[in-house]
């Protein structure tokens, strides 16, 4: 096995701990706000309708599980891992791989059953492949080698451990902190250009909950930052993140022109709300199962999905957004929406069906176009700041 840190006692099964809540008629009438635990142990606040939605979602997850089991029964246990169409395959096999890939894409958009997530994510994201190219004991050796080192990154990580989903029944325990620390510290040494960027703490925490082992969570972080997302999202000046924000603004203008024009008129910069979405991959904004459904698709289809989801959030609120005239109201609409998106299908249906097609090439071209502009802007800003500081010292 993976050695000391993995498969540790992370086998807490949140699903089984969570009681099915049946709000009383009384509570329903009163429209009171209740606190409850969701599928992954997060405490959420919502009204009684939200509790009902969450119960429906739990039921849908179970139904979706049955679909996966049925497919396993007919296609074999690991059918979804054989969707790679390699040129060496015989034509008949190629065809079946293609069929599987199409089936899988549709299926994944409807959600991967929580128990299968670790296996499916690990394989489809490319994390398994990445791990296989490193020595067997890579993670163990790395964590051992760096455990006592102190760097700016480790200091920041230590500072953030109790500030990452505080109150969560596993993450906010000594054991949860220790696991999160090892994953983040290990990665900060793997890529010293990134080191540690705030935001990764939330992503890693959620990955730990899903993957159940630290080592797999670590490789998921690696594949995300090195392959799935655009490069330099989390580096020292967040240049990749700036590029994504600009591309997103262009897409909003194209896909939701009325909203874009309205927000422009209010001098509302959408990055004000979107930055956190892209840096935390929605982990801090959407309810947990909804976030994980977004990640299901992210790991199978790639980073452009994030644009679809972000656009969908605006699209879903189009009419209401057009009626408001204050920046604060815009933010309240968006935040209320994201916090209450307990049914992932509400979001994903809009993301896939109403946003329309965006080709990878178009988006890549957009990114290429924005990169020099972002670099120039960041350089200019640095130059100005340096001149302020220099002026001060004279």
């Amino acid at each position: 096995m993976y050695g000391t840190h993995s498969k540790r006692d992370m086998e807490i099964d949140y699903q089984s701990q969570v009681p099915i809540l049946r709000p009383s008629i009384h509570a329903r009438r009163a429209k009171i706000t209740v606190k409850f635990q969701d599928l992954y142990g997060f405490t959420v606040e919502g009204n009684v309708d939200d509790v009902n939605v969450l119960n429906d979602v739990r039921e849908k997850v179970r139904e979706q599980g049955k679909v996966w089991w049925a497919l396993e029964a007919s296609k074999g246990a690991n059918w979804y891992l054989q969707t790679h169409i390699s040129s060496t395959l015989k034509t008949s096999l190629k065809f079946s791989a293609l069929v599987n890939a199409i089936t899988l894409k549709k299926l994944i958009r409807k959600g991967i059953p929580p128990v299968l997530r670790p296996k499916v994510w690990f394989s489809l994201s490319g994390a398994a492949k990445k791990k296989s190219t490193a020595p067997e004991s890579y993670y163990e050796d790395l964590t051992k080698a760096v455990q006592d080192k102190v760097t700016p990154a480790t200091k920041q990580i230590d500072h953030d451990l109790p500030r990452t989903f505080p109150g969560h029944p596993w993450l906010d325990t000594a054991e949860g902190h220790a696991a999160l620390r090892r994953v983040l510290v290990a990665y900060s040494f793997r890529d010293s250009d990134v080191g540690y960027c705030q935001g990764l703490n939330y992503v890693a925490a959620l990955l730990l909950l899903v993957m159940k082992t630290e080592e797999e969570a670590f490789w998921m972080i690696a594949v995300l930052l090195e392959n799935v997302l655009v490069s330099d999202c989390y580096n020292k000046n967040l240049s990749g993140c700036h590029v994504e924000q600009r591309v997103f603004k262009d897409l909003l203008t194209k896909k939701c022109p009325r909203i874009a024009a309205h927000l422009d008129a209010l001098e509302f910069d959408v990055s004000l709300v979107c930055t956190e979405w892209f840096l935390c991959l929605f982990a801090k904004s959407l309810p947990s199962e909804t976030t994980l459904r977004v990640w299901d698709v992210l790991f199978n289809e790639g980073a452009n999905l994030l644009f679809h989801v972000a656009l969908a959030i605006f699209k879903m609120n189009e009419e209401e957004l057009l009626t408001v005239h204050h920046v604060g109201d815009v933010i309240h609409i968006i935040q209320r929406c994201t916090h209450q998106l307990f049914d992932p299908d509400d979001l994903l249906t809009v993301a896939f069906d109403q946003i329309g097609f965006m080709t990878t090439t178009t988006i890549s071209r957009q990114r290429k176009k924005q990169e020099p502009a972002v670099m120039a802007e960041l350089d200019e800003r640095l130059r100005r700041l340096n001149s302020i500081n220099a002026g001060d010292e004279q």
Binding site: Y202, N237, K284, I331, L378
Partner: protein, 227 residues
Amino acid sequence: MATSGNKNMNAKLVLLGDVGAGKSSLVLRFVKGQFIEFQESTIGAAFFSQTVAVNDATVKFEIWDTAGQERYHSLAPMYYRGAAAAIIVYDITNQASFDRAKKWVQELQAQGNPNMVMALAGNKADLIDARKVAAEVIPLGTKLKYSSSNQDMSKIVVQDRKPEAQTYAEENGLFFMETSAKTALNVNDVFSEIAKRLPRLQPAQNPSGMVLMDRPAQTPATASCCS
């Protein structure tokens, strides 16, 4: 920017400062009257709004609580652009955070809105035993008048000798207060003081640079309350 109706105005306010200085805690205290030992670290920025009554008018603050990590610096202009006010927060137990605060002041002076009302907040004033940034220059041999067991933090008396932070604030046209999100010391006061100094509400010349530490009691904020 501050926009005003007759008696009511909206004002964009931004909080800047080092990681963990307590920006989010100050906002939470001001907006909800709460303090949480472990605040989630802020990514990008978080938005809040809260209304304060000043005299017979109200100011609705649109508050941007920004992320403190150094690399998030490149996002900051988006949040302070057009802001009518800024609170620059440092942690009195952490000298580096005070140095960082000065950098923010310089940047706002150079790039921010020229009429911006700026406050310097030395936060975590409840941790006086761990103090690293002097609020006042203490003459050698003077016994400290207060300790962490002091019950009423609001009674801390500022001596006539100018403190390091206060001197800095005066020289740079900011007003200075030591705050504690934990005990609520001066938290509402920072916001109401800003509200008073916003240009539209105060057509008379803005006495920027004046430091009010020992002024009479302030009009309290409408929603939250002190401990």
